[in-house]
């Protein structure tokens, strides 16, 4: 069986219109992400990184261009199909954690499994193991508002990985954490994602994240540009 790129885009573009003015945010972006590859996407604030990530995750729609996840098109399909594809193939981590406040730590991690039809003891075992791996096995019954930022992000990471997605998309995963917690989350991302051989795309400003990267992509005014020789000022 031929091996697909985990992520592939072709001429991906997106613009926002405000009155008569047209603001291109993502411009003809083409790139691929190979199986097991970790790509870090950097760029100034407002360069279109988050929008690009949203387009890749299918939570926003491009004006033109295409996206494939593990060989399956994310564009040109219905909202429901897109949602189903996302729930099977992707794991998402956000800067502000986005845990469901009314579900406990364990339930937050169980939710993606339940959405793909996995319930019962096996699902619970998988979720618990992952929570052990992120060092939160002792806090399974706690609700998100009782967790520190670092703990919340570790739960979010467990939640993003529990259903074995083809690709992890992380938007500023350390952006809202102090240095110690950021280190801890990065260590987990290395151990649980990179070392295991999962593919991931990380949007960041944090230079320490670059250490995870097999490849770094630079986004300038919505366009991918060749990597600069030095670490740019916006990565700090």
């Amino acid at each position: 069986m031929a091996s697909h790129p985990k992520l592939q885009t072709r001429s991906l573009s997106k613009a926002y219109t405000e009155g008569e003015t047209h603001h291109p945010v993502v411009r003809a972006v083409d790139f691929e992400l190979a199986p097991g590859e970790t790509v870090v996407l950097v760029g100034r604030s407002g360069s279109g990184k988050s929008t690009l990530l949203h387009l890749l995750a299918g939570i926003d729609l491009p004006d033109s261009g295409e996206v494939w996840i593990d060989g399956e098109p994310m564009t040109g399909i219905s909202e429901t199909q897109r949602t189903r594809l996302r729930r099977r193939k992707l794991g998402l981590v956000f800067q502000f954690f986005n845990l469901i406040p009314t579900l406990s730590v364990l339930e937050n991690v169980l939710l993606p499994l339940e959405l793909v039809g996995q319930r019962g003891p096996a699902a619970k075992r998988a979720a618990t193991e992952l929570l052990e791996a992120v060092g939160l096995a002792h806090r399974t019954g706690v609700f998100p508002d009782r967790l520190s930022g670092g703990e919340q992000q570790r739960v979010a990471l467990a939640r993003a990985l529990v259903h074995q997605p083809s690709l992890l998309l992380a938007d500023e995963p350390t952006g809202n954490l102090d240095a110690e917690n950021a280190q801890r989350v990065l260590a987990l991302m290395r151990r649980l994602v990179k070392d295991v051989g999962h593919s991931q795309l990380i949007v960041t400003h944090n230079p320490e994240v670059l250490e995870l990267a097999d490849r770094v992509l630079h986004l300038v005014d919505g366009k991918l540009v060749p990597a600069p020789t030095e670490i740019p000022a916006y990565v700090q």
């Binding site: 939570i59 926003d60 909202e79 996302r86 406040p101 339930e107 039809g117």
Partner: protein, 848 residues
Amino acid sequence: MYSRLLARAGWRFYRRHWLQTLLMLVGIGAGVGLVTGIEQARQVALRGFELSAEGVSGQTTHLVQRTDDRGLPDSLYLALRLTHRQRELYPVVEGYLAWAEQPGSTLRVLGLDWLAQSPLRQDWLALPPGQPFPLPELLTTPAVILPQAVADRAGLTLGDSLTLGVGGRSTRVWLAATVADPNGQLGSLALTDIATAQTLLGRPGELSRLERIATSPSAPFDTAALARLLPPGVAVQPVGVQSRQLTEMTAAFSHNLRALGLLAVVVAMFLLYNTLSFLLLQRTPDFARLRAMGVTPGQIVGQVLTEITVLGLAGSVLGVGLGLGLSRLLTALVVQSISSLYFTTEVAQVGIQWPAVALGLLLGVGTTLVSGLLPARAAAAVPPRHSLMRSDQESTLRRRLRGLTLGGLACLALAAVCLFVPAGGLGGGYAGLLLVIAGVALLVPRWVMWGSRVLGWLLQPLPSTFVRLAVRSIPQSLSRNATAIAALAVAVAMTVGVSVMVASFRTTVIVWLQGSLEADIYANPPGLLARRNDQVMDPRLVAAARTLPGVAQVATYRDLFTTVRGTKVSLIAADIEGLSPTRYRFAQGDRQAAWAGLQAGGVLVSEPLANRHGLRLGDSLHLPTDRGPQPFAVAGVYYDYASDLGVVTLLRSTYNRFYADSAVSALGLYLAPGADTTAVIRAFEAATVGVQALDIRTTRALLTTSIATFDQTFAITQGLRALTLIVAGIGLLGALLALALERRRELGILRTLGLLPRQLWALLITQTGLMGLLAGLLAVPLGVVLAWGLVFVINRRAFGWTLQFQVATAILLGGVVLAIGAAVLAALLPAWRVGQISPAAAIRYEES
């Protein structure tokens, strides 16, 4: 696909927001409670007279009775049973009696022929063990049998006496036995012998009806053969027909009661929509997160609708409980109204009326679902990118403002069609009023925009920034505030509308009474019905009245029920010849022609009757008489507000030609010039001693009593109006709590800027007071339009009355004050909670 975790997340949200959820449940419960309570009370009251219409035995198949409410002669029974061998017919004398030792209590007396009906004793009466059936006592003494519970309530034991009476006569009877009635099926029944019942009711030689009790369920019965044996004006009908007729009599009254309950539900719906949409809006970030994780819009809408259904059901169950409790209170008011307006009935012991419960549950769940559909759709439409924030919702509403305004105007146009086209009937009338409410509600966002702009301009000169801030923040949260203002405006408009309607009705009745009460003194035997003279006067007193010094002329009235085209109407035979016809104001026909037609043997019909049956001047109206059905020419249609059932008036001389009845129900005494009214009353009272007690009143006193009766019959309307306001108040409290919570961040920032908790409190109270003002200013014209619809459409289509329209300034001003007061009152708790906000927590609010 059902997700247990999604469901759990949803319920935990409601648990965390328990106060808002509780208020929502109470809001649903109050609306449902009102509808269930009204329905249960109505059923209990109707059951009271159904008891008397079902026959004394479960085996009763047919009733033989007059088409009017006079009795049958004893001789008819004897002839049918003995001569024509109708052995399955049994006589019954029935009526309501006031119980002197228990003021305000009535007993339904049922006189039976215990010798002929001996089988009933076994299958119907459960006497306590060892207590023999008191047959000799019943036949030879004024003895009664009471249900054990009734006797216990009055503290009676066997052998005790009680005084019963009606129509100014009273008789002492004694308790000969009690019967067990564990389910209260017998109500306040007093069983006695026929002769005793006739004495008690003042109807010697008269039977209320004959009942055909089948010896076996399959026994054939030739009704046509029996009908041929009956004299004119007496009919044989299957059991149940009378019950249906009585139900029809109260149909318009019942519809109006239901409509009042439904209006409360409409008010609750606005508030529910507001609360639900706010609760779901608070979960927008959660929905976005779930969508990003792969939860489909369908799953979200399914989950939300499930939650709403369960909440609706829980609120409805709570409401049904409330309603059943409330029905105890309402039953007394409904029974009082029905007894004043139509016929004596009683508070029957009946179990839970499941149709009332089902109606409440259905309305509760249905209303919650309808209110939640739009918010659920909005929740499902939350895009996973989590960018739909309040500002999006506000801008969406602003974009739709034009469409909403046009929709509102379209609703008002449609409402006009419903209200002005008579073919729509009562249903069309109510639909029209609902469309008026819906139309105005759709115009509310535009009104809030304009109104707050005007308020801002008016308050501009004030030095306080906070007042300006209070005004400006109203249109800022337009989507939320407009719904709260609409709900408050509808509730207050309903109050204004009902108040204007009642005031108009009251004025019309007073003017009508002042015009029609021409005599100086009125006298009638005291009856149990407030609006009808259903008792007969002793003929000696009629004769005595004519000889009283100072009396120039005596008008007599005979008032009884008859049947016109299958419905009960009042028939009044008036001995008013020689008097002026000025008492009548005519809707059709002129006074002189009508008077002439009346003297020529025609009849006058009241406006409600003419409207119901489409009767016009010169039409022929067939009435059942003692000489068979006879046509009478309609000589005039006159305004009358005594009975919505309709009244046919004819001269006594005409009545005497067709009815073998010399009874008189009431008298009007016209005094000679210079005669002393008090002296005449005293002389007449002296003449009644030992004969029959009469209510003898001056015209002024009768007017006062009639107005008191009017107010009494509208007591339930006033009560329901107050309850609707309570529903609105609870909903408004929920909506304002939601608003305060929603503005947490903004208010937190104000706190960080240095605003004291009390200043924050004052800011919120000012803002809600201004919202109340906007609601009140809208409620007043809406209320006047609703009142117009109630007076000229609903009253006309339901009861056939033409009323004068009276809009009192006090009611309108009261509406505005009420709206402001309700808003401020409902804002007290939310404002207090806002004052407790920790600024740091509040400004972090959107990030959590």
